[in-house]
């Protein structure tokens, strides 16, 4: 049997360490001055099933934002490592997350992706639950007799649910560390992101841009913290900026590529990473330079924090979510070769509405499904997926900047903005989790 026949498995097949078709520890090679990843991590169905078990079912995954369920009765649905859940605001004002699955015969309770309901009623046999999951009614209940125990028929809560700065995360692993412990140094970066609001509150816009692409989820993960591709993949957008006559912005783009510029790419512990630029986006989102806005931030947070807050960052919280300047980007793997991404524009609370509207327009310009930016990235993911079908050339190379990266006391590896330090962080964590045995049962 050839190698490709050996690992050509049926998607969704239960995976275990025993029937690994090839050694997992050979897929990511972390060597002096050289870092490589096996191309099969983007194509192999068996590895995909293992990723779901060992990474996605054990990680804190972003499931929604508190502003989406402001009022008691508000709910929205989400997918947690392929399991359908309902996120709701209970009468008690608390946030609840339960599986979207009737305890009777397993039908989904919510069809809409968001709405307002104090009760969820199963359409099949009319079992009724409060929106916190408590069973409150069953049709023709007398048929169950007097000995039937309903105490374990409340909707099953998601094992772990915690929020940080309005971002709601859930985890299928009951033994997972607390969210903030998991976030570690990433929490500081989330603080800077949320404090772009003078009230410290971000909220999300009502609509969601969704895009799908026929490629592996990790291409999106790698690219959001990739500072090497901008001038090439986004040449079209750079030309649009040139056409707009913005010479100063062209200089920023050039300066960014010089050593010692005020931009860097960082790999954090636990697979997180970021790309940061003190001078902002490529000729967009200029609101950050407005005096009135800056004054409101200084008033709220103090002048010492202004630069930290206004530094533009793409922050990855491994494995499911990015925080970008304009949006929250949620990654949902469908199969080894199919991914859905939600980009959810944010609103900065406590500032002039006109700025938020302007941010929406800039978001559409660079990030939307008809944009002049993200669409070119997606085309590259698809080129990636085409290329990795060639399995004879085995490796993808992520060595850029290994020699010059600096390791900080808190474990951050800091590289030049075009270095692959964040991608190495992704694959170190990927490898650690993939090698760490079975996921939760």
């Amino acid at each position: 049997m050839t190698r490709s026949q050996e690992h050509n498995r049926v998607p969704g097949q239960q995976a275990s360490q025993d029937d690994d078709p090839f050694p997992l520890d050979d897929l990511v090679l972390d060597e002096p001055y050289r870092f490589r990843v096996d191309g099969r991590v983007y194509t192999d169905a068996h590895l995909f099933a293992l990723e779901m078990d060992r990474i996605w079912r054990r990680s804190w995954l972003y499931v929604g934002h508190e502003s989406e369920i402001r009022e008691p009765g508000d709910y929205r649905t989400a997918v947690l490592a392929r399991e359908p859940i309902i996120l709701s605001r209970g009468e008690d004002g608390g946030i609840h997350a339960v599986f979207n699955r009737c305890m009777h015969r397993g039908a989904a309770l919510c069809r809409d992706d968001r709405g307002h309901a104090n009760h969820f009623r199963c359409p099949y046999h009319n079992w009724v639950y409060r929106n916190d999951g408590t069973l409150v009614g069953m049709a023709q209940k007398s048929g169950y007799g007097s000995h039937f125990d309903t105490s374990e028929l409340d909707l099953v809560p998601v094992p772990r649910l915690e929020a940080y700065r309005g971002l709601i995360f859930a985890n299928l692993d009951p033994a997972a560390p607390a969210l903030q412990e998991r976030l570690g140094p990433s929490a500081w970066y989330i603080d800077q992101w949320a404090d772009r609001s003078p009230t410290g509150q971000m909220s999300v816009a009502e609509g969601v841009h969704r895009y799908s692409y026929p490629g592996n989820w990790k291409f999106q993960l790698e690219n959001g913290v990739d500072g090497y591709h901008g001038n090439y993949v986004h040449d079209s957008f750079v030309k649009i900026l040139h056409r707009a006559g913005d010479r100063s912005r062209q200089d920023v783009v050039r300066a960014r590529n010089r050593l010692g510029s005020n931009a860097s790419a960082k790999g954090l512990p636990r697979g997180d990473g970021l790309l940061e630029r003190e001078d902002g986006m490529l000729g967009t989102f200029d609101y950050a330079s407005r005096d009135e806005y800056r004054r409101s931030l200084v008033e709220a947070h103090g002048s010492a924090r202004l630069q930290d807050i206004l530094t533009q960052r793409n922050l990855l919280i491994f494995p499911s979510v990015y925080l970008f300047e304009s949006h929250i980007r949620v990654i949902r793997p469908i199969s080894p070769t199919s991914t859905i991404v939600d980009t959810i524009p944010t609103r900065i609370e406590g500032i002039d509405d006109a700025i938020n509207t302007e941010r929406l327009r800039e978001h559409e310009r660079f990030f939307g499904p008809s944009s002049f930016g993200a669409t070119d990235d997606i085309e590259i993911f698809v080129l990636n997926q085409t290329g990795v079908q060639a399995e004879v050339p085995r490796w993808l190379d992520f060595s850029r900047g290994l020699e010059r990266e600096r390791v900080a006391d808190n474990g951050e590896r800091i590289g030049h903005s075009t270095d692959e330090a964040p991608q190495r962080a992704i694959y170190r964590e990927w490898r650690r989790m993939m090698l760490s045995g079975e996921g939760p049962s």
């Binding site: 692409y213 490629g215 649009i240 524009p345 509405d353 085309e379």
Partner: protein, 172 residues
Amino acid sequence: MISDGASGAALSTERAEAVLFEEAARLDARAFDAWLELFTDDAIYWLPMGVEDPAREPSLIFDDRARMEERVFRLMDTAAHAQLPPSRTQHDITNVRVVETTADWARVACHLVVHEVRIGDPSQVGLGDVRSFPGRCEYVLRHGAEGQWLIAEKTVRLLARELPQYNLTFIV
């Protein structure tokens, strides 16, 4: 008021169809500069999503004239990866109705299906599939200085507007 076009000033269905069919022909010929000429200087080209409020939600596209020109520039004068190879399109327009018209203004509704394919090496991921995009359009047309009808607003409500989109990089 609905006009049958007999007055000669208000927009007839035949005249409305001629405008829309001409637009479709220019788009399908990739004559994007000529496409722009069909629009007023204050035109809006809009693909809304759910709540149809551009201040509260992102649109798929919400272009003013400047953004439309940017879009055309990108297609004509830059090597945008998402359009290499370029989309081949066919805009099918049916159910044209003049909803409202005066001598210098008209609202026109129609159905649209855009069929799109990118050929290149059709064995590759992402190429070779024919995709279809059904939607309902609403146009606001205005009489230009030389008596021609120009497009002041083009709104396309795609049937699948809230669903995941895989790169809509052609002009709908």
